[in-house]
């Protein structure tokens, strides 16, 4: 664990990725932690802040890049950060382009851009911070709100089914092409071929409040290093609007809630399906088939 402590002689530190000062996030919000994780993951990849563009949409999660990251930042319109990032990446392929935004932004209003960026296998990294609700506007239900959850717009419990973002991205994602194939088909092929290197698919889900933060950082690092489209869903329920309405009053309650609803992929392989019914999988998934096998059915 010694690596978490900054080396006195090292000029570079994760802090250089973050603007100094306290964040404006509510007490109990995991977004500051995500900022912390991302800074460390970026530092580990050896990236240069002046060659990094962090793009966010609208919502609390978009404040992670927009307000606090010490890189080039682009705070865009609601739901469209992936589309803006597409332009940045195509215009300057040498840039390290990452999108950090919320579930309402990337997976409700802007879902089509997520699907199409995954389909194009564009070499960007998308961090979707999932807090289950629209936090900034007062905690309304969205595309990822769990069934039964109490929100401002579903006081009797949310009736709809949430999107499984991992299966969505894996199903949409990545034309798997070898470098030799070059990929000359289609209108866009000649433009994108230099950044479309066979990479497989990359979708991961991690919980922010965990006893293994190193694992989350390592997943983020792998996602950043991945050539091609990579997607990381970070679970951090909204402390102000989701937790209180759903009887999660303390960090202890929150951990119990997360334990009851999520299970790591490695643990899932050792647990019979019946014992983990209704639990979502955490971990790194590189193919639809692998994810389907673990979930125990077609997705």
């Amino acid at each position: 664990m010694g690596e978490t402590i900054m080396n006195k002689n090292d000029e570079r530190s994760p802090e250089r990725w973050i603007r100094p000062g306290q964040t404006d996030f509510c007490p109990g919000c995991g977004y500051g932690t995500i900022l912390n994780y991302l800074a460390r993951a970026l530092e580990k990849t050896g990236a240069d802040p002046s060659l990094t563009v962090a793009v966010g949409g609208i919502g609390c999660a978009a404040w992670i890049p927009d307000q606090y990251m010490q890189t080039h930042t682009l705070h865009t319109t609601h739901g469209r950060p992936i589309a803006f990032a597409t332009g940045v990446k195509l215009a300057k392929p040498e840039l390290n382009v990452l999108v950090i935004s919320g579930d309402g932004d990337l997976a409700t209003i802007g879902t089509s851009h997520l699907i199409h960026a995954a389909r194009r296998d564009l070499d960007i990294t998308v961090f979707c911070v999932n807090n289950f609700v629209y936090g900034m506007t007062g905690g309304q239900a969205g595309g990822t709100t769990p069934t039964g959850a109490v929100t401002s717009t579903s006081p009797a419990g949310h009736a709809e089914k949430p999107l499984d973002l991992i299966s969505l991205v894996l199903a949409a994602g990545g034309r798997v092409r070898t470098e030799a194939e070059g990929g000359a088909e289609g209108l866009n092929a000649s433009v994108e071929s230099d950044m479309l290197i066979a990479s497989g698919r990359f979708a991961a889900r991690e919980i922010v409040l965990t006893r293994q933060p190193q694992r989350v950082i390592s997943t983020c690092e792998k996602a950043l290093a991945h050539q091609g489209f990579s997607f990381v869903e970070l679970i951090a329920p909204c402390a102000t609007h989701f937790n209180r309405k759903n009887r999660i009053y303390s960090v202890t309650d929150l951990k119990a809630y997360l334990n009851a609803n999520y299970i790591s992929a490695s643990k899932a392989t050792k647990t019979p399906l019946t014992d983990r019914a209704g639990k979502q999988l955490c971990g790194l998934f590189k193919s639809k088939e692998e994810y389907e096998r673990l979930v125990g059915g077609a997705i």
């Binding site: 664990m1 402590i5 682009l74 597409t86 332009g87 215009a91 851009h113 209108l187 409040l209």
Partner: protein
């Protein structure tokens, strides 16, 4: 000194640290309970949302990377054209040529009738080094990608028609607020809604000038022929880069598909974006010779922070400061005014004894030209003022041209939009409209002047 300490001014007492600490160093609200128990594992420092936990007294804050000085202030250049000489081209086919000649190196678009041919022309980007073409999933993302590419340093363009322009509204507003140069071509078709997708109209004049929410005018140029399609597209890129604003080129379906001879010059004067190291990135320029602030591209040593929220000159959010909001909208409006002074359009000379003046834009100008010629043969003196700059509107110049109080007739293919711009200058102007999805013919204009009747006859 303890091995662990908490920066009290940062701590929000969320208790994340306590939930991960294996040795109960922290109390439930994150206070240090048993600091001696700390094993220095670092979990708390990783999980802390505010980075308030310090594990090593030598952890001083590192300075941010310094903005290094770099080259590259832009300005005017004489640039060789790619296909000089005489060509027979349609409006849509033409527009790609001046775009590439002006240095456009990024195009993102979505298919729509009657604008798709512009996209085919822009496929030429694939044969240019550093050129990028992409067909996006919708018009929203097309303009988003264009803005992203523009911020990464490229001149960028998209083209669409009315329904696509509607989808782009939010991002047009974003381009205004973030002072991102980009060019949008709107080929006007008959509406509202899907309307008559292959038929001409001029219904997007006001929607283009006031496009996007939140009170900011755009620069809108309206070619009347194919030669204009060339020269005004060059002008659009120059204005866009100089003033750092989105510029809209409005053509109607007739201009888009009309084939005509166009002479492309050997060279064009092209303006490249200005960038001076360590200047402010937004708001009024500090350098007097410049029309907009310095814009460093993404990927330079100087970090660029772009936000659609109201911001100060460094791009830092100022979303609840009343002075800042006034200052921002003022400086955006001032740029459009200055663009008006810069364009310096001159109205054609009109004889003092001319009783009638037609004012029109787009393809209507062509019909009016023919009508004016034929009316002259019959002894009717009618003059024509074509409007090529819809916004900023050349009101002073128009006022001068109409000083002798002629009867003014504004002819357009909509329910009356240009008339409002003209009436602001000349309240007595008469409005003549046709909204049939077909061209206004010279015959109809001649009939009007001879018989003073504008009723539509089938």
């Amino acid at each position: 000194m303890e091995r662990i300490s908490i920066k009290r001014e940062l701590c929000k007492k969320c208790g994340y640290c306590a939930s991960v600490c294996p040795t109960d160093v922290f109390g439930p609200n994150g206070e240090l309970q048993n600091p001696a128990e700390c094993r220095h594992c670092g979990l708390c420092a990783l999980i802390c949302p505010e980075r308030a936990i310090v594990l090593d007294e030598n952890n001083t804050e590192k300075s941010i990377p310094e903005a290094a000085s770099g080259p590259g202030s832009g300005g005017w250049n004489k640039v060789q054209t790619q296909k000089p000489g005489r060509h027979l081209l349609s409006g849509n086919e033409t527009i790609a040529l001046p775009a590439l000649d002006a240095g456009c190196r990024f195009y993102a678009g979505y298919p729509i009738t009657p604008a798709s041919e512009i996209m085919y022309g822009m496929l030429g980007l694939n044969n240019i080094p550093n050129g990028r073409f992409i067909q996006m999933e919708d018009e929203i993302s097309s303009l988003a990608a264009v803005i992203g590419a523009a911020l990464a340093g490229k001149k960028a363009m998209t083209a669409t028609s009315g329904p696509g322009l509607s989808l782009m509204q939010e991002n047009i507003s974003f381009a205004v607020m973030t002072e991102t140069p980009c060019v949008i071509v709107d080929v006007m078709r008959a509406g509202p809604s899907t309307g008559q997708a292959t038929r001409p109209a001029q219904g997007d004049i006001m929607p283009a000038i006031w496009s996007g929410h939140g009170d900011a005018r755009k620069i809108v140029l309206a070619p009347v022929d194919i030669a204009d399609c060339y020269s005004l597209t060059i002008e659009a890129f120059n204005l866009s880069e100089m003033f750092r604003v989105p510029v809209i080129i409005l053509i109607d379906e007739i201009i888009a598909h009309l084939k005509e001879i166009v002479d492309i010059p050997e060279r064009n004067l092209v303006y490249d974006r200005a960038y001076d190291p360590n200047e402010r990135h937004f708001g009024p320029p500090s350098n007097y010779g410049r029309r907009a602030a310095s814009l460093p591209p993404f990927g330079g040593r100087e970090l660029l922070h772009v936000t659609g929220s109201t911001h100060d000159q460094s791009g830092t959010r100022a979303a609840s400061n009343p002075d800042m909001e006034q200052w921002t909208t003022d400086s955006i409006a001032r740029k459009i005014q200055e663009a008006g002074a810069y364009i310096h359009w001159r109205a054609p000379k009109i004889k003092k004894n001319t009783k009638h003046v037609i004012i029109a834009c787009g393809s209507v100008v062509r019909a009016a030209e023919e009508a004016v010629r034929r009316l002259a043969r019959q002894g009717e003196s009618v003059a024509l003022i074509p409007i090529k700059f819809l916004s900023p509107f050349p009101d002073l110049e128009l006022e001068k041209a109409l000083l002798h109080n002629p009867e003014v007739h504004v002819i357009e293919m909509n329910q009356g939009q240009l008339i409002h711009l003209v009436r602001a200058v000349y309240p007595a102007a008469l409005s003549l409209t046709q909204n049939t999805g077909t061209a206004i013919e010279p015959r109809r204009i001649i009939d009007y002047f001879l018989n003073k009747e504008w009723e539509r006859r089938s």
